[in-house]
Symmetry: C3
Subunit: 163 residues, 3 copies
């Protein structure tokens, strides 16, 4: 979308602009994990757009507003988990244009539950769409895929898509 001065603000970033956007988007994923593991649902939700679509899998309702997300996340963080640790690696960022990127990453997550359940393990993938806002990059879409689990509290997950 070339502007009146001829500068194409819709093009995917390159060079230094690309690397600085990479940094901000990667920090967004890290902030998500940090706040999740500290049981700070309001801070997690603040990383999403108000109408973000969040799909953790078929055993949980897909949310499409910050209010729904916060309600379900706050309940899970309080009632299900005694402790969690989310480790994000293998971050691959693909810019659609200067204001939108899709992000794939890998997740190793460990969960300790309230009560006597054994610890739950998840190895999977996050699929994010992120967009620029006046407050910086925010998550507009999140889907979680599973490569495999052990003693996880959800029986059904979106599969990784292994052939």
């Amino acid at each position: 979308m070339p502007t009146s001065n001829g500068f194409d603000t819709s093009a995917a970033p390159t060079g230094l602009e690309l690397l600085l956007a990479d940094r901000e988007i990667t920090q967004l994923l890290h902030a998500y994990c940090r706040h999740f593991d500290r049981n700070e649902p309001a801070d997690v939700v603040a990383l999403f757009t108000p109408d973000a679509v969040v799909d953790y899998g078929p055993d949980a309702p897909t949310t499409s507003s910050a209010a729904e997300l916060q309600s379900s996340m706050a309940r899970g963080l309080r009632e299900v988990f005694a402790a969690t640790s989310h480790h994000v690696t293998n971050v691959e960022i693909n810019f659609i244009d200067a204001a939108t990127a899709t992000v794939e990453s890998s997740l190793h997550a460990w969960h300790r539950y309230h009560g006597d359940a054994p610890d739950g393990w998840l190895w999977g993938r996050y699929l994010h769409t992120v967009v620029t806002t006046p407050d910086g990059w925010r998550i507009s879409h999140l889907q979680l895929l599973s490569a495999g689990t052990i003693d996880f509290h959800r029986d059904h997950m979106h599969p990784l898509g292994r052939r």
Copy 2:
């Protein structure tokens, strides 16, 4: 290797050039994991040079051509694994010159096997050599070292070199 215009194309990159090369090389490692875990051996092999030397350890033959690599990888992905998840961290890239780098990284890999075998765990290190090609950075050498395993399908691995 100074060229006729005096520009030294053999020097290791610095500044912005260094960081952009870092990004491409890191993405190469991530693409390897993504395609491996999705059972896409042809896509994995496309990340290597045609004569790449790949050494997963003494229990597997070292391959030195894309055809050998694809054959052994396709068989393993199909016959041994029901699911895998490869998580690469601690990436350290050292440029030899503008077209060659050695890369050390850490690997946490989880494996689910066909049949009744318990899940296999590996904590180790990847040693890569990567080179530029007309198609971008490609892997010319890969060796896998092991810090330790649990119920892994290979009994003998190259050791990490702990003193």
Copy 3:
């Protein structure tokens, strides 16, 4: 702290300078893991300032000199561990000024002990303060927090601060 030429050397870095400092600091964390897992305590300690304060938790004495750190680390690496693997992710670097940054990261660490003890698992967080020195960035403060452990050799750890 503007200098006589008006250049503010105390300001946090931006742009390319920020990204290059990010790279050096991240490599410092990776070098720590590499040398630790290879049982190279002198090389680990060389990554710290001479008066670095290192606090691995209430079950270990906090050290405040390189000599103390090396003594306790060399003993642990030799007497406690048969093998370890430290995987650092989720690195978030916040610059205080051009010469100082605080760093939060996540740690997945696996430990194999001498003797018959089962393997020990730790999921936690590193809190680093790093400073520039004539030799590059060095760690001046390190504190380890735990999200959770399984069969770890330490019973008491600084908690993550989950609410």
